[in-house]
Symmetry: C2
Subunit: 230 residues, 2 copies
């Protein structure tokens, strides 16, 4: 049956918003996101969980489907890759070449204990400096804020929302002093744990450089993290 | 002259809030922060700039002092290390052993062209996956949000402030589709450039793990970046 052009456009539009989504890895992330996308009206197929029963339960809860990785890939407009890093090779093998598929990747390359990145990270600048001067009381902070932001934040000091600065180090008292100086200039210090976390925050500083200077808009980037409650 | 205990306590309190701050590296970051801290009432000594004239100008602008690195270190309660990574060895050599000094470090270990980290980073999980399946249209996203956040964000979808998700990849159309799916579940996609930026965002995901699960409060972490205007 032929459809008139107008209906075709309508279907095209609908397709853009009601997508067939294949979940590759139906654990905490994939299961949660799949259920929510199903609630938004997308057609979701769950695959790759610890048991077929779990896949069936997820599918039943939200009116989705359960299937193999190959089945989830076959019909999908979009795939979500949401497995532990150690499983990615296995999933990709089952998934085929994925030619032309849009794949949303929410993996982080973690070791089996989920404590460290197994790809990319070795050491941080902050640790190199702390090794060079072990008697100093190091606190890393302010390296994730473009210098253009400081005068603007200070000018509106005290007005909500208060922007934050990730602040991290191994000396609690030194971190407290750093926090006071951070508050002085209109920011809220956000404790980000040990100095070793520089391995994570220094690369984040590079992400803020991308957001501040490469992406559109003013370079005066600020950020704020909040924790939601039920 | 002896002071009664009450005045001593008062001076102790004042000392905590009016600190002697030595700026090691009086460039964009150090110059800006030093001026603002001076405006807050701290005693600031600027050191290590391209010229003595610049140090004198900075000091004059805010009622601070200009001096050598050794002078900035000698009298300081707190130091700010704010030089290019390539200069850190030179500054530390001039600064001595820094024993007992609180050092705020806002350095990022950048190469001379300021394009890459010279410490820590080599590759990313996203790039490993993209190399394994080069025909797929990869978009990295959602890996910086704890799974606990998704149901809570979806439940309050449409209410401000809208939390964001860093979204990055080399296929603009695939990134657009990812953005639609991110909006469906109540987030705003924040374009963070190329897939290669996974080198910066995957470590950031580890920082969000610290903030969500190690630091106090609910694990349902969200974040939002904003750009200020004059």
């Amino acid at each position: 049956m032929e459809h008139p052009p107008q209906q075709d456009r309508s279907r095209e539009h609908q397709k853009e918003w009601n997508m067939k989504i294949g979940i590759l890895g139906s654990g905490l992330m994939g299961g949660t996101l799949g259920r929510i996308w199903a609630e938004c009206g997308h057609e979701v197929t769950f695959s790759y969980a610890r048991s077929a029963a779990k896949l069936a339960r997820l599918a039943g809860e939200c009116g989705g489907a359960a299937g193999s990785v190959a089945e989830a890939v076959a019909g999908a407009d979009v795939l979500l890759l949401a497995v532990h890093w150690s499983r990615t090779s296995d999933v990709l093998e089952q998934a085929g070449d994925l030619a032309g598929k849009v794949v949303l990747n929410c993996c982080v390359p973690l070791n089996d204990a989920n404590t460290d990145l197994v790809v990319g990270m070795t050491i941080s600048g902050a640790e190199v400096l702390a090794k060079a001067r072990p008697k100093a009381r190091w606190v890393s902070c302010l390296n994730t804020i473009p210098s253009e932001s400081f005068p603007l934040v200070f000018a509106r000091k005290g007005t909500a929302p208060v922007p934050q600065v990730l602040t991290y180090g191994d000396d609690a008292q030194a971190k407290k002093i750093a926090g006071e100086l951070v508050q002085d200039i209109g920011f809220e210090p956000l404790d980000t744990g040990r100095l070793r976390n520089a391995r994570y925050v220094e690369p984040f500083a590079m992400a803020t450089v991308e957001l501040a200077y490469v992406q559109p808009g003013s370079p005066a980037l600020t950020y704020r993290f909040d924790k939601l409650r039920d």
